[in-house]
């Protein structure tokens, strides 16, 4: 209930101020009138303390005129040649008083406003008395300041020292000098927090341009304001820049958005990003592959935990090593970055982890056919550590799909001094996986759970020791990575057996001053692959041993300048790559060298309500021995990426659209698993997303990606790159009450994709899936996560290839569930 007291407190004459002190109360009801009388008396007492001249006799002049209006009083005052009038309003909101007092000076027609809040009546009376006393003495300049607050756009709510005082634009006078806090909030905009100092006798001006809520995947869906922060893109290594200074397709999933997403693991979080496509063949989440703009993830997408790239030698990522509870932020750069080198030529997913989280024990199952156990432990003292160990054993949904995986990942951080620290990470994987192989269309028609004759067995043992030394100051960053990864990766197919191992070392330093960034990197890698043929298949002319050694130093420079509102970022990347391939056990190494100057250029127009960006990047990607299936010479690929987009910022809606064109020169062309030749591959497409707030607790999201990926071989025949859908769309709904509950349901549709463009039987038909994921906190220490996959039970085919001129498909899992119970301890 809101009570309002309107009162005219004091009338006074300029020459004999106190003599004519009069108090009038205008009351709207009897009960409020009592408050007004109380207030008047308190005010009188306070004023009396400050001005001993207010004697008993003079107090008699104070009268109460409960029937008069403010206009009547003003008229009376003017007639009596009284110089000023103080009028006020008290609003009682709950148990608080918001007192607004206006001092109208008739002689100069000036009106000052005093607002006091969050105080009891006596405190308000005290402040008012003090204010008026100082006005009278002409001393207001010693104790009070004024503030003019404006926002663009106007109409933002002003919270002065935590209390609502009005909307912008507004001016407040007679505010006690010193420190104050101001929060400016408007629906659809980031809340701005300002701590200000008011100087006595001065008018401070605060003009704030409110930034629309944008750049987020998920719209906040409760009343919690989003506070203005400079979203920083760390760009994989330590070059920091603000999100809206980045002329590229960038998505940042903040910790807050992770909480709201209801995602149960990192792949399901990434699947909500436009342009990112996730394929989870078993439904368990552990073998998910993540494609950015249709680019082969094993070749072009670098996934990093806290800046340490964790892709295995074959480019794959073990997602079960990254418990989502430990993730505090994910940055996705959906384009090549010449400064980062070829390993991220298709994009970077940089996952930043928390220093400390509660210890967790979890048990999970997929369709009741497997069991997973996970323990996450973290500690922090002078140094910090987190470790995750997990195992999953059981059967997939198809016959003979089995897995037995055991992982351990630990990361520790040791601060050296204020600016530098060393972090160590240790990764141990022991995975034994049997995949039932692809089926022909005829086999699927009979039994989609059957086993193909190209059943695949994988045995992987990896030990990775990474260390990172990071030193950071305002102008300078230095980073040294050491990434030693003895890895044994055995793949057993009916026709061949492969074992791979390797080691990687890299170093990086960057220098940033004003608009200029200089980065230098060096990578060294040694890979070894041993192949044993079981059968003779003419297309796969495999050799027994391949060793490769690569050195790649790079220097990149980048400027940023602003001309007429357009931010332009030109840069150049100079690199040299030396690589040695040794074919066969006794073969002589064949040295190769390539050097390249790669330009990059970005444009950004940051306009009101939207920004437009465009960029061009060129990157050189180093060859890998595991790509060498046929005995052809390996050489680096050149990737040229152009993209342009627009990010629209509206009050309760965010939208973004971008188009991209990627040319991969000298790619080894895979014509349905047959590596035959070099050629140029082209990925062109568009992606867009819309996030919409419906109510405080409900939000909608949608993404759309369209892609065409073709390759052009030397003999000029065109193929569609296998496995790439031409269109992908998702619409989803989120309902959350954080931190207790979050639920996300989405419908995902994939358009037709091809195994072999030239043969109609190599076409994968369109299909749709409905997935639901939810997280519930049952008790402060107990949580339950459940996911329902593919509720429509479509037995479509999401990935295929061609074997012996016949299309093979991996059917996606039918309706299923995954449930995980967790206990924090």
């Amino acid at each position: 209930m809101i009570n309002t007291i309107i009162l005219t407190l004091v009338l006074f004459n300029q020459s004999q101020l106190i003599d004519s002190v009069e108090v009038f109360n205008f009351t709207s009801s009897k009960s409020i009138g009592i408050q007004a009388v109380k207030m008047t008396n308190m005010f009188r007492t306070e004023l009396g303390k400050l001005t001993p001249v207010l004697t008993k006799e003079r107090e008699e002049n104070i009268g109460i005129a409960s029937t008069m209006t403010l206009m009547d009083v003003t008229k009376l005052c003017r007639e009596a040649k009284i110089s000023g009038i103080v009028s006020g309003k008290i609003k009682k909101i709950s148990n608080k008083y918001r007192v607004q007092v206006m001092y109208h000076n008739f002689s100069n027609n000036r009106t000052d406003t005093i607002v006091t809040v969050n105080s009891d009546l006596s405190q308000s009376a005290q402040l008012l008395a003090k204010s008026i006393f100082h006005i009278r003495k002409g001393e207001e300049e010693l104790e009070f300041g004024s503030i003019q607050i404006g926002t663009n756009p106007a109409g933002a709510e002003i919270l002065l020292d935590g209390e609502y005082v009005g909307n912008t634009p507004a001016r407040f006078d007679l505010i006690p000098f010193g420190e104050h806090s101001i929060l400016l909030s408007k629906k659809g905009y980031n809340t701005a927090i300002k701590l200000i100092v008011l100087y006595p006798g001065k008018i401070s001006t605060l003009t704030e341009t409110l930034i629309p809520i944008t750049g987020t995947l998920l719209i906040p869906n409760d009343k919690m304001p989003v506070y203005l922060l400079d979203e920083v893109v760390v760009r994989g290594e330590r070059i920091k820049e603000k999100l809206f200074e980045t002329p590229k397709g960038v998505d940042i999933i903040s910790r807050r958005e992770i909480e709201y997403s209801g995602a149960r693991d990192v792949p399901s979080l990434l699947s909500q990003v436009a342009g990112v496509s996730v394929v989870d063949p078993t439904g368990s989440g552990i073998f998910s592959s993540i494609k950015i703009r249709g680019m082969d993830p094993s070749k072009y997408t670098a996934v990093a935990i806290d800046g340490v790239v964790i892709n295995d030698l074959d480019g794959k990522v073990n997602w079960s090593n990254i418990p989502i509870e430990l993730v505090k932020r994910v940055e996705i750069i959906k384009s090549s970055l010449s400064t980062y080198g070829g390993k991220a030529a298709g994009g970077i997913v940089n996952i930043m982890t928390k220093e400390k989280e509660k210890n967790k024990f979890s048990l999970s199952t997929t369709n009741g056919k497997d069991i997973g156990v996970g323990i996450t432990f973290s500690a922090s003292d002078v140094w910090s550590v987190w470790a995750n160990t997990n195992g999953r054993k059981g059967k997939g949904w198809r016959d003979e799909e089995t897995y037995d995986i055991r992982n351990f990942y630990a990361k520790s951080n040791f601060p050296m001094d204020k600016n530098s620290n060393i972090s160590l990470s240790f990764d141990l994987q022991n995975n034994n996986i049997t995949l039932p192989g692809g089926l022909t269309a005829a086999q699927i028609a009979i039994n989609p759970e059957a086993v193909g004759d190209d059943k695949e067995e994988k045995y992987q043992q990896t030990i990775r020791l990474s260390s990172q030394y990071m030193s950071e100051s305002d102008a300078y960053n230095f980073l040294l990575n050491f990434n030693a990864m003895p890895q044994t990766y055995d793949v057993e197919l009916p026709w061949l057996k492969q074992r791979m191992n390797g080691i990687n070392l890299s170093g990086n330093s960057s220098y940033k001053k004003d608009n200029f960034t200089l980065t230098s990197n060096i990578d060294w890698e040694f890979d070894r692959r041993r192949t044993t043929k079981n059968y003779t298949i003419p297309e796969k002319d495999t050799s027994s041993d391949d060793n490769a050694q690569l050195i790649n130093p790079r220097i990149s420079m980048e400027w940023r300048e602003k001309f007429y509102g357009v931010s332009i970022t030109p840069g150049i990347n100079a690199e040299w790559v030396g690589y040695w391939f040794q074919n066969g056990a006794l073969g002589a190494p064949s040295p190769n060298y390539t050097s390249a100057f790669s330009p990059n250029l970005g444009f950004l127009i940051d306009a009101k309500g939207f920004d437009i960006f465009a960029s061009f990047d060129r990157a050189l990607r180093l060859p890998k021995p595991y790509e060498k299936v046929k005995n052809i010479e390996l050489k680096p690929e050149f990737l040229s990426t152009s993209e342009a987009g627009i990010r629209i910022k509206k009050s309760n809606m965010n939208a973004s659209i971008s188009v991209f064109y990627i040319k991969i020169a000298d790619q080894i062309l895979a014509d349905a698993n047959t590596f035959t030749n070099y050629g140029d591959a082209f990925h062109r497409g568009a992606e867009g997303s819309i996030d919409l707030i419906v109510t405080d607790a409900i939000s909608l999201f949608s993404t759309y990606t369209t892609l065409q990926a073709k390759s052009l071989a030397e003999n000029d025949s065109t193929y569609v790159v296998p496995g790439n859908p031409f269109q992908e769309a998702e619409v989803g709904l989120r309902i959350s009450k954080i931190p207790l509950f979050s639920l996300t349901g989405s419908y995902k549709w994939r358009g037709k994709s091809y195994i072999d463009y030239k043969n109609e039987f190599g076409t994968i038909p369109p299909y749709g899936t409905v997935d639901v994921t939810s997280k519930i906190i049952i008790h402060s220490n107990v949580s339950l996560t459940f996911g329902l996959n593919n509720l429509l039970d479509e037995k479509g085919k999401n990935f295929g290839y061609k074997l012996n001129n016949e299309a093979r498909y991996y059917p996606i899992p039918p309706r299923g569930f995954r449930v995980e119970g967790g206990i924090d301890f």
């Binding site: 010193g178 420190e179 104050h180 910790r255 807050r256 928390k354 931190p739 206990i823 301890f825």
Partner: protein, 352 residues
Amino acid sequence: MVTILILLFFNSCKVKVGVNIPLTGPVASYGKYCLEGIQLRAEMSPEIELVVDDNEADPNNVTLILKKFAAESVKVVIGPLISPNAVVAGIEGKKLGITIILPAATNSALTKVSPLLFRTCFTDKQQGEAIAEFLYSTLDKKELQIVADTGNIYSSSLALYVRHKFAKLGGKTELIPIGNKTEVDTLVEKFTFNTVFLPLYYESVKPIIVKSREKKFDITFVGADGWDAPELFEALKNDSISAYFSTHYFMNNNNAAHEFDSLYINKYNKCPNTFVALGFDAMNIILDALKSAKSLSSADIHRALLSIKEFQGVTGTFRYKGKADPQKDVFIVKLQSGKTSLFTKIPASECK
């Protein structure tokens, strides 16, 4: 599994104290030191269960963590550390009904934001007035030049409080506003009085003092808690002219501090700094309130905090007059030839 259930059972008997501070990000080092202090005190009290979360100094994380704490039945929260985060915490904490202890945020405006904010350090206003009093009365300075970084709230507010109080006492003041682009050479040329107050962070203080010594200026420099960093002491080891600064804590300043110093040195093999001490005292105050709290509800703990009249901590004496801001001892440290010594302590009772 059985071990976990047992752990769960025992954990539920404890009082959950949340710690919402930055452990990564731009001010991570403050958070890490503060946490050391909090943990050191909590380890001595088996009834306390600490729930620590890193807010990265990001206001969105500050609110998210508070919501999580509320769901986990956390009774009282220590942190955030920096003032802009504290405003946000005040607003969210008020909605959630969680009592929040501010161990190191000195901005005087903070406790007005929410009645559930409770501070365990002095405010900029108290610090500024204590410095003015010290300069005017103890050092007998009658003229003071004040350098204020107008773009920085900490600097400009301290400058204002010192100037206002110093002028009220009868002293003459002159303000020298500086910004990002002010050259040290130009600034030093403006020093015409023999006492200069530098309410700046230690990185900015060093070049100003070094440059004025190069020019053979015999100026007494005075600073505030932003000076309290070994990096500054090291940089001024060749400066034999005394400088003074105010701070929250000095080693061995009282019996409680003496005990704390030994505890910390034994565990970490290094000397404690101000943030460790402030963290330790934040936990100290909570434990003191728990003794008199009627129940373990957040409201009763808050009432118990407000009923504390006087408290002796390692950062000196705290005097609360039923309000959320204490009057505290302000330590004035003398810095000469890179060495620090406790020059005087302005007791809480004298700070107005």
